[in-house]
Symmetry: C2
Subunit: 322 residues, 2 copies
């Protein structure tokens, strides 16, 4: 099943969003233009813009005024990706060269800064201080989360709470904000806005847990990056955290995950220990519980075609490809 | 003469600004906290905050409400410095380790992002869309300027207009905005706000030209970086551009400035060609002309202790240390 099918109610607006995205990063500066279009055309599911638009559609039929906000959300997301690629030294993402690989570190840093500035400028055009506050606050937290992630690599002592807090900042917050601002730009009542914010949060948590499971279970063609890449980078996710606590082979896993050398050499073995520990099933179960909470939030809002679409996305999020 | 003497009218507020700056970047995340305090305590003249506060003081005696904006301006400035240090591979600035040297590239990228986000969040607290727009627009332009600078290294074909446009984005814009928002946060009339914005712009241009002259004339202890560091990095500034057009030794200079290898090896020779070409005097003259324009702008605003301070800073800017 293709994710675009969920987006039928906002197909026209997503198309417009795409055009405005291209226009927004347009610049006379040739190299910056190249780097930005490279990034835009590298694809991505445009999940954050879709959430802005679908959430808005739950409360109004006219959502064209949400398009600049949808663009801004995608730009914030793209800005973090470009900087992450410098940090992770990634040469490919979704099966294509990264900006870093093609244009080097310098361009990546500045084009990330450029996109973030453009995003915030876009938001400023709404002349709404509440939106601006939410989005800058989120950016601050996302940065803090990136740094926590940097520090937690190869740290086998971290707990599940550390992990959950990390993925909250890495993924859930921005999706949550996308849903919140989508509602805030309509006449939705404060309880409805809150429900949408929490919907996005739970969905984002489930989304990231599922992504982390896929790093163990999916093959390269699905992920666009090699299986086990988290392990090799020292990123210890939920399936491994479970195994570290519950597998009879925990000491061996511990030795692999705590050293960059061992992780690079014995990633396959680590994957097999994690898989046989029940860590995948445990994580799937947690992803599903988050989705249940997300669905409960949706029940609070009026029934509509857009709500149905959001609900179907939520169901799909944690059964992706494995 | 010490720059702090100019700041007497706003001494108390600058002290408060400093405290709020420290509080603003405070975080429970230990490494980020270290990196941020390292950057804050590395000093700097706090010129942008001072311009916010002094400009405001030209129009009102109560300027405490300008302090968060002053903090934000310094944070934007610091964010660009941290990212520049990654780009330039700089290990020291103002005679101290950079964040990059002490904490590595990764922390530098994220702590720069963090400071920019914090700055914009601070501005968002004013609930004023006009301020937010001005500052995000400026951030976009500053990023574009950084990229233009990247591309112009070792390019001996660039003209004086290219140079002026580059330093506008690199330095003048942010100082200009500091003066503009300082006025905007008071009852200053639109023509007064415009005069302050242009004052800051002219002063910023003069400031950067003077900085570029100092790279040829000052010794290490004044600059906090080695003389000729621009040449070695391929940054071709006004004195060299003049020499490339007017020195009898232009062909030799051209050969040195267009190649990283030659520039590293023959920086001393390049400096001597530029110095004997009259490029320094030409640049000093241009810096002074910008200051004259800045002073003209000041004449449009009511006389006050703060205006006198701004005028003295302007006079001082282009006679620094050479």
């Amino acid at each position: 099943m293709h994710s675009q099918e969920f987006f039928t109610p906002i197909k026209r607006e997503l198309q417009k969003m795409e055009e405005e995205l291209v226009r927004t990063v347009d610049t006379r500066q040739p190299l910056l233009k190249q780097a930005s279009s490279h990034l835009i055309h590298a694809g991505g599911k445009r999940l954050r813009p879709a959430f802005v638009l679908l959430t808005g559609s739950c409360f109004t039929s006219k959502i064209d005024h949400l398009i600049p906000m949808a663009v801004a959300m995608e730009l914030v997301h793209m800005a973090t990706l470009v900087h992450d690629d410098v940090i992770d030294n990634s040469l490919s993402r979704r099966g294509r060269d990264t900006v870093k690989a093609r244009f080097g570190n310098r361009m990546s840093i500045y084009s990330g800064d450029y996109m973030l500035a453009k995003a915030l400028h876009k938001v400023s055009e709404y002349c709404r201080a509440d939106l601006m506050k939410i989005i800058t606050e989120t950016s601050v937290k996302v940065c803090q989360g990136e740094i926590v992630q940097l520090q937690s690599v190869f740290d086998v002592e971290q707990g599940i709470t550390d992990y959950l807090r990390r993925i909250e900042r890495k993924t859930a917050l921005l999706i949550s904000v996308a849903c919140q601002v989508g509602a805030l730009l309509t006449d939705a009542s404060p309880p409805m806005v809150r429900a949408m914010r929490r919907f996005g949060y739970y969905l984002g948590m489930s989304f990231q847990i599922t992504d982390d499971i896929l790093d163990y279970t999916a093959d390269d063609s699905v992920l666009g990056k090699p299986t086990g890449s988290d392990i090799k980078q020292g990123i210890i996710t939920l399936p491994a955290l479970y195994a570290l606590r519950n597998s009879p082979e925990a000491p061996e896993l511990r030795a692999i995950l705590s050293s960059p050398d061992n992780a690079a050499r014995h990633a396959e073995r680590a994957i097999s220990i994690v898989k046989s520990s029940g860590g995948i099933e445990y994580s799937q179960n947690m992803a599903e519980r988050y989705i249940d909470k997300a669905q409960l939030m949706l029940e609070q809002i009026p029934s509509s075609q857009a709500r149905t679409a959001l609900s179907r996305i939520a169901d799909f999020i944690c059964i992706r490809d494995y």
